[in-house]
Amino acid sequence: MKIHEYQAKELFKKFGMLVPEGDVATTPEQVGQIADKIGKPVMVKSQVHVGGRGKAGGIKYAENAHAAWEISKQIFGMDIKGCTVRKVLVTEAVDIASESYIGIIIDRAAKKPVIMVSPAGGVDIEEVAAKTPEKIFKMHVDPMLGLQNYQALTLGSFLFKDMKMARLAADFIKKLYITFMHVDGSLAEVNPLITTPDGQMWAIDAKINIDDNGLFRRPEIEAMRDPEEEDKYETQAKNAGLSFVKLDGSIGCIVNGAGLAMATMDTVKHFGAEPANFLDIGGSSNPEKVVNAMNIILADPNVKAILFNIFGGITRCDDVANGIVTAVKQLNPPVPIVVRLTGTNEEAGREILQEVDITATSSMEEVVKRAIELAA
């Protein structure tokens, strides 16, 4: 799950990291009020779940409250990579002496958290990694022991020659690591971490991504979810226990299992068409799940045919067949439906489907080809 910059900054503050004063606003009037309260020049920063906000013109400087109010009118409603700006963060503009980068992710291969720092902050870190890799320093943390003081100081010293500043950075890194572990992070990033001319250290930007698997024990993080930032149908699917990703093609896919669902999309593409979605109905599929899945797919006007690819294991083919019959009767779908059933209770499933005149095949390739034919 992604959270907004202002939410990440709230977490930073909670764990003792310095962030500039500020607040979130949903109207230009609120922007003016917040800027007035700050009483200094401010930054008006769009809050959307995508990167590259600055480049897109979604982050602007304002001299005073009136200017902030004016500028925010341009930012609200702006489209940044498909996301509409509904919220902005109004925050004190600080003088910058230096910009660095700190990031923490889980290194899948090493099976350890890895902390990355770079004195080349404020720019796209992937670009730094590609062009000047010597400007990035990485250190793995033993998950059993946690981050050690010497490690934090080694990282801090890579950023600053001055020992006082290096210690300050080390302290920041330790706090960021604690935050990362505490929120079940999959990424925690400060870009840039800045120093002011008078020697203070602030997080000017903040990014935290959360491991969805950790959310069950982090209700305070779950509460930060912004449904407006998430695809309406993806949220609807999630609530129905389905895993769904919208794509641009015309072949709707309903599959059990994530790997098979991806392979089904690939097969659609292989035979010259485009999948409309990724949809995994999961292990045990009760009929209701199938109805929900079909509802979500039918909401997409691009869909010209729906294919079911079911390989029964825990999932029973008869359960899915019952779901298809219910869905067809309830929703009366305007597009053709083709079905593949193999595995547990396949025969029973086939028989059930006769009721709505659907003949199930047992080949994945066949069902894909058939769907493409009917969609054309």
């Binding site: 889980i106 491991d211 969805d212 991806m262 690939d266 999948p275």
Partner: protein, 323 residues
Amino acid sequence: MAIFVSKKTKVVVQGITGRDGSFHAKQMLDYGTNVVAGVTPGKGGEKFEGVPVFNTVDEAVKEAKANTSIIFVPPKFSVDAIYEAVDAGIELVVCITEGVPAIDMLKVYAYVKQKGARLIGPNCPGVISPGLSKVGIMPAPIHKKGKVGVVSRSGTLTYEVVYALTNKGIGQSSVVGIGGDPIIGTNFIDCLEAFNEDSGTDAIVMIGEIGGTDEEEAAKYIKKYVKKPVVSFIAGRTAPPGKRMGHAGAIISGGTGTAADKIKALNKVGIPVADLPSGIADLMEEALAKLKKKAAKKKAKKSTTKKKAAKKTTKKKTAKKKR
């Protein structure tokens, strides 16, 4: 022969009285798996389908001599269940549960390794050695005993590939689903190593998907160490970047983890990658045919030095003994 599970496998089912645990315990028993115990705290002393239920894994090990565990408990409790199994001396832990936090898995991985045990999963379908033992949730009838090892990050996609192999008459030595999470106990390389050393495996199928760099690492390993033919399939060619495709581990991030990268890495070391899941069976048929030719050549060479008839009879004898 096979890897990880065999006739010596004695299974304890953690969470045997739950919905999934009870269903699959019964399925495993029906398959002939030696399920010796179940564990559900508070239900010790009961029986499930004739199998004794204990309060702790420790009791299951001491009293029923369990050496392998399969975990069906919810994500909240599964980390504890893994620690309990490993601490009780279980050698192989198969964790079916989906939804275990990655940060917990970092610690679990380190601990299991330190204890010298093996963890498969989490979020996996388990392991089956056809005809010997099934420690997992896969539909048994699609499998056929044979000499091809299968390793995969997915569940139902593995079934699809196994189904295609079996339909072509190609049997399997063992099929291992290593799981779809970013942090898993056993990875491709561990399985490749085991298959490479297993005398009952002639060739290997590796089924990968988008996310991470495990397939790329595996390609390097195969080039260096694996002497048996390997064929592959990678799911997710059409997956958009930045989106989690069902599996927690299946996400293309920062331009890495794409199917194209993985296919390139595999092709580079001479591993053919099928366009479609069913194509795996065709590639494997070719690989096995080549292997047969090679063996025939070797045999022909040998038989010129030894007497043909004598060799045939000794071979027959050993074959009978094995049965």
